[in-house]
């Protein structure tokens, strides 16, 4: 029997994203030079949703990029199963941009480290901020999110799964106990 606990439902996700959108605007004093980069795969959909919210609030069209961090991972050497490489698509210059990196779950911080390395290869942003839906703790690198949907203290043997309509057909965040 797998233990599953829904910790966030569709409304909860939507409210968090709305709040994050306002926080982004507040912190950056508007949308000037602002862009969003979603990390494959969950971050991509969240970035798109944030963009919609920001557009409806400010009435401007923000550029959104997609970042696949596979080629920058530090665990390729150790990974038993090679992750499928996805396309990176950042069709605009990052020079002098304010980049908001978007991911679904912040965990060890290693993905974000890889993402920042990748971004730097694309240009020289003015600043990089991080938006995540869930921060589950257990950081292994000195990385912290600027915008957090929900802080979710978790055990190491649990996995936190963000399910999104675009890929899973449902919006919810669940905790699964891997030990079962």
């Amino acid at each position: 029997m797998e233990q599953k606990k829904v910790v966030m439902d569709a409304d909860g996700i939507d409210r968090s994203l709305t709040r994050i959108a306002y926080e982004i605007l507040e912190k950056n004093k508007g949308t000037e030079e602002l862009c969003l980069v979603g990390i494959r795969t969950g971050g991509v959909f969240l970035a798109e949703r944030l963009k919609k919210k920001l557009t409806s609030i400010e009435g401007v069209d923000l550029p959104v990029g997609i970042l696949d961090i596979t080629l920058y991972r530090d665990d390729l050497r150790l990974a038993n199963k090679k992750p499928m490489l996805g396309k990176t698509d950042i069709p605009f210059s990052l020079d002098n941009r304010k980049v908001v990196l978007v991911d679904d779950v912040l965990f060890t911080g290693r993905t974000i480290r890889a993402a920042m390395d990748a971004l730097i290869d694309f240009g020289r942003p003015q600043l990089i901020q991080l938006a995540v839906l869930i921060d589950r703790g257990h950081r292994e690198l000195p990385i912290r999110a600027d915008f957090v949907g929900k802080n979710l203290p978790s055990s190491l043997w649990e996995s936190v799964v963000v399910k999104l309509m675009e890929k899973n057909g449902v919006d919810e965040v669940v905790i699964e106990d891997d030990n079962q």
């Binding site: 390729l76 050497r77 150790l78 499928m84 490489l85 694309f122």
Partner: protein, 307 residues
């Protein structure tokens, strides 16, 4: 999903799933080569040796660029078989290389089976960059990638391969690959250039260009090796090009949206007329671009992380 073997010796040994994995991975690598900083750290600290026993600027450069864009250290070794006692080179070079512990060895050799021999001798991943008239798997993969990019699929197509089939490793690898992926392959050339029993590889054989390219989606022209004339394989270039050169007249026999490919280097005016090589049907330069991506994909899949 990962590759079954430590080596890429030929398309014959690859499954359809493996071919798809390589093509999909390669498609993702296209973007890296369009960046301003065309380099990712994926293979940092890995060493790739390009061991070329046969002259080849294009393939060697392509592998070198692929390795470098993945941050691997690439080392080129050009060896000639003629200057040393035959045979000793490969075995000794292989053992020496193995002792230096590279991660992958890319080998081009004029003798069929040389990469297979190397693969048996060393623990490193071997990538066949062309062995004699046997296989040239990376060329076929980049060809299939280019076809997929332009046609959206590699299956259900009619592909004519024209030229000296007997001496062509490109032909063999593409025959394996395209038939595996569900396309129909036609080979054509004068009888002396068609190897015995090739129909058993699942291809249709023609001895004239018009029949071969009728209603095809792709025409793949092969380079005519000038030295074959001395070997009495064919009487003259003049005659060959009068009957087998793809030009703007005979190309009308193919489908309207036909694509023209060539593994290069081209003998302009011999197997392909300049207006075709540079014309709208030609995707020859796309092949070259995709070559880097395919080779990046192979290096990534073979030595990027644990196998």
């Amino acid at each position: 999903m990962k590759l079954t073997n430590k080596d890429i010796l030929g398309i014959k040994e690859l499954s359809v799933d493996e071919i798809n994995l390589i093509l999909d991975t390669a498609a993702s690598f296209i973007e890296v080569s369009t960046r301003e900083i065309k380099k990712v750290p994926t293979l940092r600290g890995k060493t790739v040796v390009n061991l070329f026993f046969e002259a080849s600027t294009r393939t060697r450069t392509s592998f070198e660029i692929a390795g470098k864009r993945l941050s691997a250290d690439t080392i080129n070794i050009s060896a000639t078989t003629s200057s040393v006692v035959k045979g000793e080179t490969l075995i000794d070079t292989a053992r020496n290389l193995e002792a230096m512990n590279p991660d992958a060895i890319v080998i081009r050799h004029s003798a069929a089976g040389a990469p297979h021999m190397l693969a048996r001798m060393v623990k490193q991943s071997i990538i066949n960059a062309g062995d004699g008239a046997h296989e040239h798997p990376t060329q076929a993969l980049l060809d299939m990638m280019t076809i997929k990019e332009k046609k959206g699929t590699v299956s259900g197509l009619k592909v004519a391969i024209v030229g000296d089939i007997a001496h062509s490793r490109v032909a063999r690898s593409n025959i394996y690959g395209l038939t595996k992926m569900g396309s129909q392959v036609i080979v054509a050339g004068p009888a002396m250039m068609i190897p015995r029993d090739i129909a058993r590889m699942g291809v249709t054989v023609y001895n004239n260009l018009a029949e071969a390219i009728k209603d095809v989606d792709i025409v793949m022209m092969l380079r005519i090796q000038l030295e074959r004339q001395q070997q009495n394989i064919f009487p003259s270039l003049r005659e060959y090009s009068s009957y087998f050169c793809l030009n703007r007249h005979n190309i009308k026999l193919a489908k309207e949206d036909v694509l023209v490919m060539h593994p290069g280097p081209i003998n302009r005016g011999i197997e392909i007329s300049p207006d075709i090589a540079d014309g709208p049907y030609s995707i020859i330069l796309d092949q070259v671009t995709n070559g880097v991506a395919v080779r990046m994909a192979l290096l990534y899949l073979l030595i990027g992380g644990q196998r």
